[in-house]
Symmetry: C4
Subunit: 486 residues, 4 copies
């Protein structure tokens, strides 16, 4: 090449130049110069700053792969000199965030997995001979008996939209218990996959970001539990009032149990042991009934947080000239979260479905009741608190689970800002995948949890309520012979 480079290169350049028409070239030059100036002004300072940040963040990551022991210090994060990066990873993993939530569930005989509070998902295990599993199986048997009694009572009375409430309540609790047991078996594998996906994701830039998901999950759990506890207390007060009002025997405690566990004493006569079993069953069922909604919320928060983590990284480099390999890496990470989302959906979609249809049914039943006059103020307070709690919980489940879909679509916003020169097949492929894949939790693939679903569910409820109001006659659902649940 030594003997012709200058000439050849000049020739090639000239050829390239002349191949385009004069008009096109002129416009091109004009546009190009205008565009360049704007971009350069905006980007340069930012880019330099970001680049140095990126380099800093990249360094520890590149040396991360060989080590595999993780030390979890959730609340404090001490940086050892020399930067052992275990401390960096201690927060922000879904396994750690969800640990206490599962511990509470285990106390209520759900999800008997061992090692939920362990630092590494590898310590999770499921065994049929574990005491948790046994407790869970015993409770399932007990619930089955209770469900059988409810079924017997309901079938021996005329069936209506309102009277099947106890079966639906106890039936779905039973179903969720069984699904949760099956889920417990898969949980170690799922958490390991989750862990792998988290390892591959771009790291959080700060400790605040790391702790956020865990914080949200704990808050949701706390608020949910407290409200559900408040609702149960109010329900008890209202039931005591009601029992006094109907007054079948002289013993107020007996009256209370006769009302709240009518399905038991429909078959046998009153006994304190059975009453206590019924009470225990009611408390546990109520918790599980609330927990299934919270569980769907928590998984949704976890999945949405992973998408947000990826989106945050994309936002940091928004509009900048990135190498194709950057996009390729992000695409594979996005794909991994999608696959994770799919696996979680397969595992919990039955719970999601039960949770949604339950909420829909109970809202409709409560609205049907709302048209009747309340027998007492205690009832009115309990009723409206319970209705608002129910609607609020349904909305929360809907919106949190829709957020997975929303976050997964948000990625597109950053891909739209990729500058012309960085537009490569990998970015194209990435954006096509984001556009065409419907990433969302689903109810057994029959419906996807998106914001549009919330509207159609709300529309259905409003229509039902309108029809109810239009043809309203006082059905007197508050009479003393009416069944009572939880």
């Amino acid at each position: 090449m030594k003997f012709l480079p200058a000439k050849l290169e000049r020739k090639f350049r000239r050829l390239k130049k002349h191949s385009r028409s004069s008009l096109t070239r002129k416009l091109d030059v004009m546009h190009e110069s205008a565009r360049k100036k704007v971009i350069e002004e905006n980007c340069d300072a930012y880019k330099n700053q970001k680049h140095s940040e990126y380099e800093c963040r990249k360094r520890p990551t590149s040396s991360k792969a060989p080590s595999s022991i993780f030390v979890s210090n959730r609340n404090i994060s001490i940086e050892f000199p020399g930067g052992t990066r275990e401390t960096f990873l201690s927060e922000g993993s879904f396994h750690q965030a969800v640990g206490r939530v599962l511990l509470v569930a285990e106390f209520f005989a759900m999800m008997p997995v061992k090692g939920v509070t362990a630092k590494h998902p590898g310590d999770l295990s499921f065994s049929w001979r574990n005491v948790r599993t046994c407790f869970c199986l015993v409770f399932i048997a007990s619930s089955l008996a209770n469900f059988g009694l409810s079924l017997f009572k309901v079938l021996n009375n005329p069936i209506s939209f309102n009277s099947v409430k106890p079966i639906i309540f106890r039936g779905s609790v039973l179903l969720v218990l069984i699904v949760a047991l099956r889920l417990a078996q898969q949980w170690p594998t799922l958490m390991m996959y989750w862990h792998e996906v988290e390892q591959g994701l771009p790291q959080y830039p700060s400790q605040v970001g790391k702790g956020q998901m865990g914080h949200t999950i704990r808050m949701v759990m706390l608020v949910g539990m407290m409200l559900s506890f408040a609702e149960h207390l109010l329900s008890m007060i209202s039931a005591i009032h009601y029992a006094r009002y109907c007054n079948s025997t002289s013993d107020p405690i007996k009256n209370y149990f006769l009302r709240t566990n009518d399905e038991i004493f429909y078959v046998t006569s009153y006994s304190t042991a059975l009453a206590l079993w019924g009470k225990f069953q009611n408390v546990y069922s109520t918790f599980i009934w609330n927990y299934m909604d919270m569980f769907v919320m928590i998984v949704s928060i976890g999945l949405a947080a992973k998408f947000r983590q990826l989106n945050n990284d994309l936002r940091n480099f928004k509009g900048m000239h990135m190498a194709p390999s950057y996009w390729s890496e992000r695409r594979i990470q996005y794909r991994n979260i999608c696959v994770l989302c799919d696996k979680m959906d397969d595992a919990i979609s039955l719970i999601t479905m039960v949770s949604f249809s339950n909420n829909l049914y109970f809202i409709c039943v409560q609205l049907l009741r709302s048209l009747n006059t309340m027998p007492s103020v205690a009832h009115a307070v309990y009723f409206y608190f319970s209705l608002i709690f129910l609607i609020g919980r349904t909305l929360a489940v809907s919106l949190y689970s829709a957020s997975v879909h929303d976050e997964s679509r948000l990625t597109l916003r950053y891909l739209r800002c990729v500058p012309k020169d960085s537009w490569c097949p990998e970015v194209k492929r990435f954006s096509e995948e984001v556009i065409n894949d419907e990433v969302a939790l689903s109810g057994m693939k029959f419906f996807h949890l998106t914001r549009k679903l919330v509207l159609s569910v709300a529309g259905t409820i409003v229509t039902y309520e309108l029809v109810l109001i239009q043809f309203h006659e006082d059905n007197d659902l508050w009479d003393c012979n009416q069944s009572y649940y939880s």
Copy 2:
């Protein structure tokens, strides 16, 4: 080139290197190395194993084309020394799997095709002068007469949602009979096309995979037939009870026939010959009414199995570096199954439509009845068995036919995992086709059979039931003057 290769090559490499900015290059190298390591670790061992498998499986296929005689040994598969590959092909073809199903149908005067149990679809034929065709035509004429009598009775009484049941029942049976006759004419061509598509598909890796589709089809047919037989028996018992209860004459057998074939004896007086004809007509109609659902299921199972066969092959090579020609071949195979799906849909979509609207109508009618008090326990047992059978059958048809669509979308999952270096225009074209084509059975293109449809159908039924419950008055549908079917 001998006198400049080293220099030129060095020059070119340097040029290429320098053409990208320093930042981009650095990032690129970093990303690339990280990505490569992960991929290599995961893939290499697997790839080597798969490659040898692929080579083994490829060899017999490449020499397959010239031979054209197939020996079918469905239950045993003896491998001759030297490996005559006819034995390999004996299982797994839709024609063979569906043979006995069609034989049963022919016994019930449907689908008069000759050679349904032959080993090769080339032996199929349709002739107007065949005894099956004649039997079929005679039965159509007989059904037409029965339909006419039903129509006459219904039009001479006040029309309601419930009273048109006999016309809809007999009308759809008649329609399906005629469509099946037309389908019988096309069947040989369809099976030949199906055979060609199957020949082109990647082979099953094991004998188990080959037999699976046939096994599922036989099971569906067996369970469907047995349940339908049980339902007919229960219906007879309930009708005998009913006949005794209404007690128009002293002869219980006469009573029974007067009730179950009221459309005949509305016109003429009672005669044993007519009663037997009516009974024969009822038994056959009931079978055909059940068979149309099963036929849609069986075709769906066949189509879904073909997509699954393709997907299995794609899963085996998931994430590996395949040549563009591999993708091109798979794309053409996918296209062929789509075309097959289209052809089958054109041929059976009228049956699908009749089956769906029938199920929807009968569920609504049964739900309307469910609100009334049952005259006897025999009725209650029959009624609830029949309702659950109906809902179960509808769900089974819906879900099996939705599985065609689900399987056809699953292909996308494997295309998403094609590594960056193997991403070629053919893969792009393939994935765009999978995304944009709606491959599913349809009801005359008015609706596509997907999981979302199941939800909207369920929603419609629930809404109808809710409206019913809200405005329920006992319509007394169990009175003695009510028409009776099957």
Copy 3:
């Protein structure tokens, strides 16, 4: 190059070969050879045949552009020696096919365009001073008066879903008349554009193909007119019966007119002149009410035929290796038909909307009536004939207009079969346009006329009917004080 070609070429080939891995190359070779054989076997013979056809058909077209005089011999087509291609173009143009249809419309005071039966769309013209336009304006004024009288009568009586029928009937006729007048002004331009698009399309291969669209349009018009005439006759017979039954005066003719034009004689006393004017108004309104549906059908047939013409050409070359310019040409033709479709939709979408909402309303009203007992057999016959005619007409409009969308999607099927080697950016662009554009007639862009729409409309009607049946009380819509229309 003389001194290094052999060496260089060898070098380049070797380089290219070695750049791919050994595995990839081996697979590639295997796949390629298998694929090639299949394609070659299928295609070669067919291709040769088609190519010669194509060459033949191409020759006259390429010399077509300069001439611009067209001779129309619709029924006979004499080929002059030397092949003057004017005779080829005589059939198959929408302008010629629709000529007589518009002539009939002009007789009924709609679409006053001059030159509808001319051989070239260039001869079309609209003028405010033309006698047709004047007739049309006079009739609009007369209809307006009639509409005012109807409105006056309806507003002075209690309003119900049924009682507003005369206003809706006369109101939509008036609206369509005004829209048709505005359309008449645009008609010459639209037909010229249509003519240009037709000129650019691939020619019909045979005389049969050319005449098909015209034949379908004439048949639709004929059948539609005859059925509408039969319905009007039956309506008259039924009204005469009805007038005798209600018997307000002794004169049967006077009775008849008092009933059918009650809106006139609600204001003034009976006079023969007014009765005749009312009759004239009724006959014309009925025609226009039927004509608007037929007009939508005819435009749909025309547009679908243009897409079919293009699809036929694509089918002829399906699976063959075509030059990029072939695809580019077809894409531009497809685009032109889309633009034509858009223009026609803008022009007639108000008529489409009126036609659809009218049909929906009248079906609902008739179904409401269907639950009442008929006063006489004449009424029953008229009522059921009219109901079936209405439903059939609605279905026909829906399906014919949905066929535009169906045909426009069919193009995709042929693009899917483009072989790998011919897959070029133009084909890609073409297929993306077909996938993403929703080409269909619409009701003012509020809804697109597709097969899915038909289902949702049918669903709405069935739901309405179900609600009606559920809460049915005999509303006695057949009493003598009820208004009467047409």
Copy 4:
């Protein structure tokens, strides 16, 4: 290169030629020549003309960037010699068009932003200590008191679909007031972003185009205000009639205030000061209730106008050969408007949602009332005027906000006409973005405002009305004890 160019070039060309098959080449040549001729005929003259236009318009723009002071002369536009381009920019900005509209809003205690009529959006500011903000806060407090009184009255009476009207009316006014206050804080930032987007857009070709958006906005505001004023007057007249008719006291003015502010005098006895406060509250609430619809319309008009400005430029160069940089620039501009649309949607989507649900609720309530007989002519006139105004306003909001989506889709039409040679990755990317992004205002992302939404809303209302008519009993909503709202 001097010693081999001619030979090499010839060689290369020959190689390229021979690489395609003879058939392909021949077809190619034929097609190409035909296509070229058509394009050249159509384009050349037009192109030359447009090119010169483009050059003219481009010149001032390229020198625009440095200056940043804008002189606004809305009605007159004097061109200084030497062409200071500030005058060109004076019209056409959304900030200027919306200035007076916001001024009116501020008079009614909404949107307390300072500097709304300033010439440059940079002069906008929000301060808590501004007198407007204080007025706004005082009015919010006053509205809150009024809302509390309404709530108290409603909860102490039986609740029905009709009786909650005052709460919904006052509640949504209060909500909108608070949202508007929050929006006022964001307004300066939003207007600055809007200004930047407008600066980057292709300029209007004429002064007429510049003024159009402002003119439409002013017209909408004027017509809306006048109709709302007329409605309020009619409502007063009808209320005075009504008060006389019910006649609780002898003082007609007292009667009037007792009726229109029944929520105040339900708690306290009559006093003139309270009556005046109630009147003031009513007038302001009515304005705000109307203003929220107009505000959504005005923002929609602004956004649609920006898309139209871009589309106009694309239409000017439709079908021409433009440089890739032209498309790149347009794509970035399109993206900017999309981002603007997103930001505005985030800011006003709560108002949109309140506006839509309000309109839907009030239409349903009015339709429910429409079935009752009116107590007087004044009531009938007011009622029908109010109903038509309500429906018209709802339609106007729907259609204006749907126009944003329509305009954003229109861009695709011009991208479809890009000639084959200009089809570059940038055009591809542009068209993919237009196809896949759903650009529209939304109601909190639960629904997007498109034309399809209008249909489904209309369908819902019609269904509700049908159900109402079917089960109509006179509910006597016009009795004297009924609540009343302005």
